[in-house]
Point group: C2
Chain length 281, copies 2
C-alpha cells in the first residue's frame, strides 16, 4: 500500500539504503530519491534499484512528503539547520539515530511533522552494498513521540515501520536513551575497549569467544563516537554500573572466593537465558 | 589409522564427548570407554555411539593406553590424585583444561607420559548432547610440553589432534596461560560482567549487539570460575589492561573529546579486522 509519493533518504548507507530498498520493493512510496555526498553511493543505490534518482544537493528534498535522516547523530543535528526552508511545510521528517534526546529536542522545534525513530537493526557492516530490503523484518523499531508530536505523522510513520516488518514500540526520548545506553551503547563501548586491550601478537590464538564479544568493535568509529557523546550522561552511568560488576568479579578472583564468584557468574548466565529472539543492532 | 587400543574419557561432556565421537568415527581408537558420575551421561554417550562402555567407577581406566581428562580444571587436579595407582604405567594422560600451568606442574610429576592440551574449540552449549565429531575441524589445539615431556607421548598426542582436524601448536604452560587470559578468559569475564550489569527490565530492548557480546556469558559458571581462579595472576593483569582501555574511552566521553575517542575506537576496529577464521572456544 502506498503511504508516500516521494521519499527522500538523506544518507543512503546500510540503514537508509535498506529503508529505500524496502519502500521500493513493497511499493510503500511511489518514488524514492537519495541525497549523499558521495557520487559512488548514489550510482550504487541506483544500480541496486533502491532509488529512482539521487543528488549531492540537499535541495533535492523539496518535493518529498517524507524525509528520512539516516546519517550519524551529529550530522543529523547539522543537516537539520541546512534543511530549514528547503522542505515542504507538510513534509514528515524522521531520523533513525541511535541516541534520541538531543535530536528530538532540536528537530521537533524545527519541523512540525517530525517523529523520532530508532530501528533496532543493522550490523557492524557498513554501506549501501550491505543493505537488505528485509533488514527490519522481525526487528523492533522504537519511536520517541513527545507531547509536541502530531498524531497524523506518528500514525503514518508507525504504519511505515510495520510495513517494513518491524514491531513498533514507543518510548519517551530520555527513557530511550537511558535504556539504549545499557542494552546497546555500553556493549559497544565494552567491545571496543576489550578489542583494544588484547595485544596484537596474541590474536592468532583467539577463537569464537573473542570473535563474538568483539564483532561490534568493527562498527563505524565515527557513528559510535557520536552516539556515545550525544548520550554522554547515560553512557557514564552505564559504564559505572558495568565497572561495579567487573569489580565484584575481580575482587572474588583476587580473594580466591569461589562461592561468591560462582554466584556472580550464575546470575549473569541466568540473565543471558532471558535474551532470545529479536532483531540486530 | 589406529593410534590407541583403548581410550578412557573421564568426563564425556561437550569436549570429552566430541573427542570420543571423533575417535570412534575415525577409528583412531579400537575401543573408547568413559567415566562419568552421571548414569544418564553414560547411557546417552552409548546411544550416540561415542563410547563402547561406560562406568561411574574411575578404576575402569585400568586398561587404557590413553586417558583424556575432560573435566573442569579444579576437578582435573582432584581426579589426578584418585587416578594414582589405577592406570597402566605406560598410559598416556592428557587433559583438555583451559588453564595449564597448575595442571601441568602437578600432572607431569604424577604421570610419566602426560601431555597438556587445550583445544581452542567448544561453545557455550554444554553436555554430550551437543558433542560433534567435527568439533575440532579447522580449530587450533595448543599443546603445552615441558622439558619433562616424553617425545613419544608428545608425538602420539600431536598426531591424534591432527587426525581430529586440529592445527597443533606448542606453548610453554606459563605462556599459554598469559595469552589465553587475554584472548579467552578476559572476554569471558567481561561478558559475564556486562550481562550482569544490564537491568532485567531493559532486556526486551536488546538486539544483536548485546546478544553477541554476551553469548559466552551463558557458559558453564563452575567451569569458568575454575579457569579464572587457576589462572588468577594473569586474569588480574588482563582485567587491569582492559580497565585501562575502558578508562581511556570513558575519559574521552566525559571530556567530550571526540578526536581522542575516535582514535581509540578506530584503533580497536583496526585490530578487529585482524581477527578472522579459526575455531570456536
Amino acid at each position: 500500500m502506498r503511504l508516500f509519493k516521494e521519499v527522500a533518504i538523506v544518507g543512503p548507507g546500510l540503514i537508509g539504503g535498506s529503508i529505500a530498498l524496502a519502500l521500493k520493493r513493497k511499493k510503500i512510496a511511489l518514488r524514492v530519491i537519495a541525497v549523499s555526498r558521495h557520487k559512488k553511493t548514489i550510482s550504487l543505490a541506483r544500480k541496486l534499484k533502491a532509488i529512482d534518482a539521487g543528488s549531492r544537493d540537499l535541495s533535492a528534498v523539496r518535493n518529498a512528503d517524507l524525509i528520512v535522516l539516516a546519517v550519524p547523530v551529529k550530522t543529523i543535528l547539522k543537516i537539520a539547520d541546512d534543511l530549514r526552508g528547503l522542505l515542504r511545510r507538510d513534509c514528515i521528517v524522521i531520523d533513525v539515530g541511535s541516541s534520541k534526546d538531543k535530536v528530538v529536542s532540536k528537530l521537533q522545534r524545527m519541523f512540525p511533522f517530525y517523529v523520532g525513530a530508532h530501528p533496532l537493526a543493522g550490523s557492524q557492516k557498513q554501506g549501501i552494498q550491505n543493505a537488505r530490503a528485509e533488514m527490519f523484518k522481525d526487528s523492533l523499531c522504537v519511536l520517541t513521540p513527545t507531547a509536541k508530536t502530531k498524531q497524523v505523522a506518528l500514525d503514518k510513520v508507525s504504519r511505515m515501520w510495520e510495513m517494513l516488518g518491524a514491531r513498533v514500540v514507543s518510548l519517551a526520548p530520555k527513557e530511550h536513551d537511558r535504556i539504549l545506553a545499557m542494552v546497546s551503547h555500553l556493549p559497544h563501548c565494552v567491545s571496543f575497549a576489550l578489542m583494544a586491550s588484547v595485544p596484537k601478537g596474541d590474536l592468532k590464538y583467539a577463537s569464537s569467544g573473542l570473535r563474538d564479544t568483539t564483532r561490534i568493535a568493527g562498527s563505524d568509529a565515527g557513528l559510535w563516537a557520536d552516539i556515545f557523546l550525544t548520550n554522554r550522561r547515560n553512557m557514564l552511568k552505564a559504564i559505572a554500573a558495568f565497572r561495579k560488576e567487573l569489580g565484584s568479579v575481580e575482587k572474588s578472583i583476587r580473594g580466591n572466593n569461589r562461592s561468591f564468584l560462582m554466584k556472580r557468574l550464575t546470575r549473569a548466565g541466568g540473565k543471558r537465558r532471558l535474551l532470545t529472539g529479536g532483531g540486530a543492532g
